[in-house]
């Protein structure tokens, strides 16, 4: 092994000489503590490195050793439920090893070597297999089988299969050429895992959040940017989707954000039961955590680590959702490293490659035909928070993301100040998939979904215009029908689009509930209008009763939904004519 010498240390960067023949992006071990680093630049005999661990204390003259490998992570059964950092170290076992505070240089492997699994082969000796073929399965935490695939680039005739009890490093399947295949595999994180052709996104990634499912549904395999100033609710949204989004596997990347948030995620996910799978949400989750005070280089890599884990499960044919909070921190990590490298800065100091890197990163999402047999589809839906300085979306990171994402859920500080959560600005948000997705919802959930959506968007639009007028002439000067419109739109905003992440009954809204609530708020407007036309005055309309009934339905426990629905019906009926009960379409 070639050992070089450390010649400079500044921030997260180091320089070394004597690493003859070292390649770009090759891993190195830096210093006496053997910190993990990566080669960013080679110029003559000098290699510039970014160090993934704390560099304080590194001394000029210490050794640097080549690893002859790029940054890669371990993949295999046992990943689900894990918490790993931006370079794949398991934080739980790291704490056992080195204590409460993270010390540089300690590196237990990602996957626990002592774990045992029962391998059920799907292929037999003599079969010809190709990359991506399912060789067999083991049970894993997720409640769905973990599939062992022929690794990318491999193929051959099966010579040996070991069924039953196996460890991570045991040869499970041997082909006629190459190393035996083990449950544990490695993949370089910066290289996308190969997959078959993209297939059209045909159904929505249902979030359980009304405003997204109802107004801005995104396709499975789609990409969403969620920009918003501080405190506008990005993390709450990411966490809600991680908890309640309809996916087989969730990869949550806490990139340069808060430690307390991660503690919250860990404690809550472990306790919360996924309504669809009937097991702990943590069982379907992999957490990649590099908090804002952890090394900046590992912040940049954490996003790639997360995407590699996602691709690994996608290749098995699962539907994976990736939450990245926040891509701005990823971009800033690039900027920090870039400026120390004295690269020519682009806009606002970000590297000029920012846009192309953002595009490449988003390209790793999508719905694809997986390689190998049996034929299957897998998907990665990527939902990324973006933290624009000063909440100004014209900045480079937001813009770079918007150029490549298929949806924008724009968060608005004014709405957040009004405590209208999720603080999604419905006038600027969009989903390019919306049309196709509401067609799906019309067919699969409720035939009037797309019509209700159109009515709601129309009502919101008219509400915005009217409120502008009211702010000039005063609300008192409005006519009854306008007041009704304002009241109905307020109900729509409060009880349909608004959703408290902290109310156990309301945090998750199944599509059926979403529709009923939306339809009722719209009926308030339409039936109220009919009543006004029939001569009633706005002041006589029992708006508050409808509001109370809507609040009751929104906050009802699952077993009280029917009753609350009835109450909404009755309140709406009272709108049409005093004392005359009437069946409705709510």
């Amino acid at each position: 092994m070639t050992a070089g010498t450390l010649t400079r240390v500044v921030g997260a960067l180091a320089e070394a000489t004597g690493l003859g023949g070292v390649a770009l992006h090759e891993l190195v071990r830096v210093g006496d503590a053997a910190l993990l680093g990566e080669v960013l630049r080679v110029s003559g005999d000098v290699a510039t490195l970014q160090v993934f661990e704390e560099t304080t204390g590194l001394r000029v003259g210490e050794p640097v050793v080549r690893e002859q490998l790029p940054l890669a992570i371990e993949l295999g059964p046992g990943l689900l439920g894990q918490v790993i950092d931006g370079i794949g170290r398991p934080l739980g076992r790291l704490a056992v090893l080195s204590g409460t505070f993270i010390q540089p240089g300690a590196a237990p492997p990602t996957l626990d070597r002592d774990a045992r699994f029962a391998f059920e082969p799907a292929r037999a000796v003599g079969d010809l297999v190709e990359a991506g073929d399912v060789l067999g399965t083991v049970a894993d935490r997720g409640g769905f089988p973990f599939k062992l695939l022929v690794p990318p680039g491999r193929s051959g005739i099966v010579r040996h299969v070991r069924a039953g009890d196996v460890g991570l490093l045991d040869p499970v399947v041997t082909l006629d050429a190459g190393d035996p295949i083990t449950l544990l595999q490695r993949w370089p994180v910066r290289r996308p895992r190969p997959a078959g052709a993209r297939v059209a996104a045909d159904r929505p990634f249902l979030t359980g959040q009304r405003i997204f499912d109802f107004l801005f549904p995104v396709a499975e395999g789609g990409t969403v940017a969620v920009p918003g100033g501080f405190g506008t609710g990005k993390t709450v949204i990411e966490q809600a989707l991680a908890k309640f989004g309809d996916a087989d596997v969730v990869v949550y990347v806490g990139c340069g954000e808060r430690g307390n948030e991660m503690a919250e995620v860990l404690h809550e996910f472990a306790r919360l039961v996924d309504p669809r799978a009937g097991r702990s949400v943590m069982d379907r989750t992999v957490l990649v955590v590099n908090t804002s005070n952890m090394p900046v280089a590992a912040r940049e890599s954490s996003v790639y680590v997360g995407l590699t884990v996602a691709e690994f499960f996608r290749d098995m044919g699962y539907r994976v959702a990736v939450m990245a909070d926040s891509l701005s921190r990823w971009a800033e990590a690039l900027r920090e490293v870039g400026s120390r490298l004295q690269e020519m800065p682009g806009e606002e100091g970000y590297p000029t490659s920012l846009a192309s890197r953002a595009a490449k990163l988003h390209e790793r999402a999508g719905r694809v035909r997986c390689l190998g047999r049996p034929e299957r589809h897998g998907s990665i839906t990527l939902i990324s928070a973006v933290s624009p300085p000063g909440g100004d979306f014209s900045e480079p990171v937001t813009q770079a993301c918007l150029r490549v994402t298929s949806a924008l859920w724009a968060l608005d500080a004014a709405l957040a100040h009004q405590r209208q959560f999720p603080a999604v600005d419905w006038s600027t948000s969009y989903s390019l998939d919306a049309q196709a997705m509401v067609e799906y919802l019309d067919q699969q959930v409720e035939p009037r979904w797309s019509a209700a959506r159109a009515r709601a968007l129309d009502l919101l639009q008219r509400d915005a215009e009217l409120r502008e007028v009211a702010s000039v002439v005063g609300p008192d000067a409005l006519e009854d029908k306008d007041r009704l419109l304002l009241a109905a739109a307020a109900a729509l905003r409060e009880f349909v689009l608004g959703q408290s992440a902290f109310d156990p009954n309301d945090a998750f809204s199944p599509p059926a509930k979403t529709f009923v609530l939306a339809e009722a708020a719209l009926a308030l407007f339409e039936r109220g209008a009919a009543a006004l036309a029939a001569g009633r005055s706005f002041a006589d309309l029992p708006i508050d009763a409808v509001r109370r009934a809507l609040a009751g339905l929104r906050d009802a426990a699952a077993d009280g939904l029917d009753e609350s629905r009835k109450a909404v019906h009755e309140a709406l009926a009272a709108l049409s004519a005093p004392g005359v009960a009437e069946g409705g379409d709510a």
Partner: protein
């Protein structure tokens, strides 16, 4: 100290930086001593360790430093601070030298200043309510142990008075006493005094450690003062199990020091001249708050910052808001109207509030009570703006009620003056404001809450008669 190496003469000096060449085995973060003939040695730290050139950031005043004649010693040790329980009751300089005329503290351990990050899997989610005695905080923006909740202030606003009031009045759930670590970062002598005088009574100083880097003190020392203080706070919290409140004032001065070093290094400036790594740098301070498994202690931070020009989108409040768990925003308008504390609850937010309230911590239905107050107040504030355009007669009756509510809310609930208010009194003060409103204005409250309140009032009325 066998690793100590001494050199004569520096290659160059500029501002707070000294450039050395030919230094052997410099380590990033190594302590350096810089001596000029006939002067006391200056402390510095290696910020760029190189075989050819090594850059030392000098923490003290470099006025009169002549590169050719300095004697430079690299100590072999990393920048660190003495920590220990015996520091309680002491006043120290920004890097730990005594300011109270007493000998240097012996301490119990030496802690590195850079501060290793807490392993996120070892954190416990903050949950325990801290009663600050301030209604706008306890009722509407609840502080919990392990949180970092900054005060966004403006020039001339009483942020330090507020912090002192909190420190003086704060009570932990089981009445455990707080230890207080106060870091003055570039604030004036007078500001420091304001703070200290407020909370000195009642033996508060005995359970405090003061780190003082004031306006007249070396700028670069400001970069180390909060780190030395946090090392001590972590020691008190996680070794001794104490509840520690860290008050840091003023983060704005800290950021200016950061900018000064960046400029001296000729780095490409980021937004408004602040370095691009300011987020990371501030995070390395603010993230040193929390509660961990296996220790009863906690570190809670109350950083104070001055928003230049009262502009909340300025990089300093902006980046802080992106790291901390909410913010308490002071308002010039309320200050002008004599409201103390002048907390504007609309832009204020405690993100950890939900975890720290409710039946298990404060009162059941705390959330709904707070939401209701907030909603009507927000409506009243909107009405106040509308009045300017359409006059009060143009308002709907409900808006008019909200307008009156907003006035009363600011005067009584927020503007409590210097007195301490228990949570129960805060809740009652809020209810009193709500009592004046008809039920149709109170849609955030459940019928059960309204009925409960009604019953409570009737019982109280009977008691009186």
């Amino acid at each position: 100290m066998s690793l100590a190496r001494t050199y004569r003469g520096a290659r160059a000096a500029a501002g707070p930086l000294v450039y050395l060449s030919g230094v052997q085995r410099a380590a990033l973060g190594e302590w350096v001593s810089v001596e000029s003939p006939g002067q006391p040695p200056l402390r510095g730290q290696v910020i760029d360790a190189g075989r050819d050139v090594t850059v030392v950031q000098v923490l003290e005043e470099t006025l009169g430093l002549a590169p050719a004649s300095v004697r430079i010693t690299l100590t072999g040790d990393l920048a660190s601070a003495v920590v220990g329980r015996d520091l309680l009751g002491r006043a120290l300089g920004g890097v730990g030298t005594p300011r109270d005329g007493l000998p240097p503290p012996i301490g119990e351990a030496i802690a590195p200043l850079w501060g290793a990050p807490i392993n996120p899997t070892r954190r416990l989610p903050p949950r325990d309510f801290i009663e600050t005695g301030i209604s706008a905080i306890d009722g509407l923006n609840t502080l919990v142990r392990g949180q970092k909740l900054p005060v966004f202030s403006g020039p001339g606003l009483p942020a330090l008075e507020l912090a002192a009031t909190i420190v003086e009045h704060a009570r932990a759930p089981r009445d455990e006493p707080f230890a207080v670590v106060f870091v003055a970062i570039g604030i004036t002598e007078r500001e420091t005094r304001t703070f200290l005088e407020r909370f000195q009574h009642g033996g508060a100083l005995e359970r405090s450690v003061l780190y003082l880097n004031q306006a007249q003190d070396p700028t670069i020392e400001r970069l180390l003062a909060p780190r030395a203080a946090l090392a001590e706070a972590e020691h008190l919290a996680f070794v001794h199990g104490l509840q520690v409140l860290v008050v840091m004032a003023d983060i704005t001065h800290y950021c200016e020091a950061l900018r000064e070093v960046a400029a001296a290094r000729e780095e490409v400036p980021g937004r408004r001249g602040y370095p691009g790594y300011m987020y990371t740098d501030l995070a390395s301070i603010f993230e040193r708050a929390g509660v961990i498994e296996g220790s009863p202690g906690s570190v809670t931070q109350l950083p104070i910052l001055t928003m230049p020009d009262d502009d909340i989108t300025h990089p300093i409040p902006d980046l802080t808001g992106y790291i901390t768990e909410g913010q308490v925003v002071l308002s010039r308008e309320l200050q002008r109207r004599g409201v103390f504390p002048p907390i504007d609850v609309l832009p204020s937010l405690s993100r950890l509030m939900n975890a720290g309230i409710g039946a298990a911590h404060t009162v059941p239905e705390h959330r709904k009570w707070a939401d209701q107050l907030y909603t009507i107040y927000a409506r009243g504030r909107e009405a106040r703006m509308m009045v300017a355009i359409v006059g009060e007669s143009g308002l709907m009756p409900a808006d008019r009620r909200a307008l009156a509510f907003a006035e009363a809310f600011e005067r009584t609930l927020v503007g409590q003056g210097a007195e301490r208010r228990s949570l129960a009194d805060t809740i009652e003060a809020g209810w009193r404001l709500l009592d004046r409103l008809p039920p149709e204005d109170l849609l955030k409250l459940t019928p059960a809450m309204l009925a409960g309140r009604e019953q409570q009032r009737r019982a109280a009325a009977e008691d009186r008669s």
